[in-house]
């Protein structure tokens, strides 16, 4: 990470008003980068580019821009932080004859342009909507990119932006149960179109099977929170906590406590919840699996808001049990999600596991059956229950290996 190096090299120049630093964050959840900056006590203005609107292939990238907006140095190495005062800050640059104006998109003009029904027009409208901050935007952003993708399915940037828009809506109150899986599907399509895009590849890896050599994604968050708290500050809250796949090393929340050693309800005698109290959604990353290969499954249980359902935390935690088809391997056939520290709670509970297809598996659709057992209460009649939720994790087996996994 080169950010602390640049901070150390530029701090005094910033204080002296000789240079300003702007951070641009190329990740799905920009608030994690803000937490990183809080940890390192760096106060740079920070812009978010979760959809890769800048169309960059990889990060990090450091540039020096003169007072007129012209790039004077690109791809600066970390070592340049020591010499930047002489090589750039103290230099004088000529004023260009004309400067491009700040880009303030005219949404109604861009909307009108979509009547031409071209992929470019729809993508430009989606791009502008995605930064406009308008209420209810993500439905419209997704709609615009879907139009663009339909007209030009081979445009990787559109597929990636569509995937990121789905994931952003998934992390918002407007989320739909299929958003996460749709996000992954479009990211995978983007990467299949251009496998050299490291930012896109990392987005797929972020939620996919653990890599053979674990390269940390967000393991630093634990240290950051502890050190920020030890300074007497409150760590910035994250809109979406990293899941198991986003850590190289499992955290305390994933410690296998209360994991059933034997099947907890082999005869199916526990009364079913068919979605009245808890909904379930699954997402496989990547969305398809080839014979002998592995996907990571995210299985999320959410208390039903309509019935004001909530977890009863004064009893055993949610446990799950999987019944993979013969010759299919699952790394965590059973597991448990720890209860929240309060008596009741309504948080989403996610379990993750990796599934490996047999080498001899024929292409086609297949399901990994299983179920979860949990204690849930509903506020309508104030009743608490022990329920079983049956789950079928749908997977699609493809004949050819995909390039998106590593």
């Amino acid at each position: 990470m080169d950010v602390p190096v640049w901070h150390a090299g530029l701090e005094q120049l910033e204080k002296d008003g000789k240079v300003a630093v702007v951070a641009i964050v190329e990740e799905q959840h920009p608030d994690r980068a803000r937490l990183f900056l809080q940890w390192k006590q760096i106060d740079w203005p920070t812009l978010a580019d979760p959809l890769d609107l800048l169309n960059l292939e990889t990060v990090p990238l450091t540039l020096a821009i003169d007072e007129y907006g012209i790039v004077r140095f690109s791809e600066l190495p970390m070592s340049a932080a020591k010499t930047i005062e002489q090589t750039f800050v103290n230099q004088t640059y000529p004023k260009p004859a004309a400067l491009p104006p700040a880009d303030t998109p005219d949404l109604s003009a861009l909307r009108a342009a979509t009547t031409r029904n071209t992929a470019d027009a729809w993508r430009a409208y989606g791009d502008a909507l995605s930064v406009s901050g308008t209420a209810g935007t993500w439905d419209a952003v997704i709609g615009a990119y879907q139009h663009a993708a339909q007209l030009e399915p081979g445009a990787g940037a559109t597929q990636f932006r569509l995937g990121s828009a789905f994931r952003t809506r998934y992390d918002s109150p407007a989320r739909r149960p299929t958003d996460f899986q749709d996000a992954e599907r479009h990211w995978a399509q983007a990467l299949a179109i251009d496998p050299n895009r490291y930012i896109w590849r990392r987005r797929v890896q972020q939620y996919g099977p653990h890599l053979p050599t674990p390269e940390p994604f967000f393991d630093w968050i634990r240290d950051a929170r502890a050190q920020i708290a030890s300074r007497g500050e409150t760590p910035l809250a994250l809109a979406a906590e990293p899941g198991d796949s986003e850590y190289a090393t499992p955290g305390a929340g994933f410690v296998a406590a209360n994991v059933p050693a034997t099947e907890p309800d082999p005869r199916g005698r526990i009364r079913r919840d068919r979605g009245e109290f808890v909904s379930v959604e699954t997402a496989a990353v990547p969305s398809t699996v080839s014979p002998g290969d592995t996907v990571r499954v995210h299985m999320t249980f959410r208390p039903n808001v309509r019935t004001k359902a909530h977890w009863n935390n004064e009893v055993d935690p949610l446990v799950y049990w999987l019944r993979p088809p013969r010759a299919w391997k699952v790394d965590r056939r059973s597991g448990a999600v720890p209860n929240a520290p309060t008596a009741v709670s309504q948080e989403a509970r996610t379990v993750e596991f990796e599934v490996t297809a047999p080498e001899t598996q024929a292409p086609g659709a297949i399901a990994i059956p299983g179920y979860a057992l949990y204690y849930v209460c509903e506020d309508v009649n104030g009743v608490c229950m022990y329920r079983r939720r049956d789950v079928n994790v749908p997977l699609e087996v493809t004949a050819t290996p995909k390039e998106t996994k590593r």
Partner: protein, 80 residues
């Protein structure tokens, strides 16, 4: 493959870290090579893109052009 002393030591440290269930966060991550030229607006002599992005703090649209009049260092990164 030549098994140098340095290679053996670094491998032993890596295996030790994995065995301990930890990943050494202090080591710099590999910098990924770029495969294609940088897009327009990122090369020397070009005007940096004025496209608005969302502020990571409050979500309002902000353009790098809003910072004109000052010399700027732009650091594009991800925390992963």
């Amino acid at each position: 493959m030549r098994f140098t002393l340095a290679w053996l030591l670094s491998t032993a440290v890596a295996i030790g870290a994995l065995a301990a269930g930890t990943v050494d966060q202090s080591k710099p991550k590999p910098i990924w090579a770029r495969n294609a030229p940088l897009p327009r607006g990122f090369n020397v002599g070009e005007a940096f893109p004025t496209r608005a992005l969302r502020s990571a703090v409050d979500g309002r649209p902000v353009s790098v052009a809003d910072f004109r009049g000052k010399k700027l260092i732009i650091n594009i990164f991800a925390s992963w």
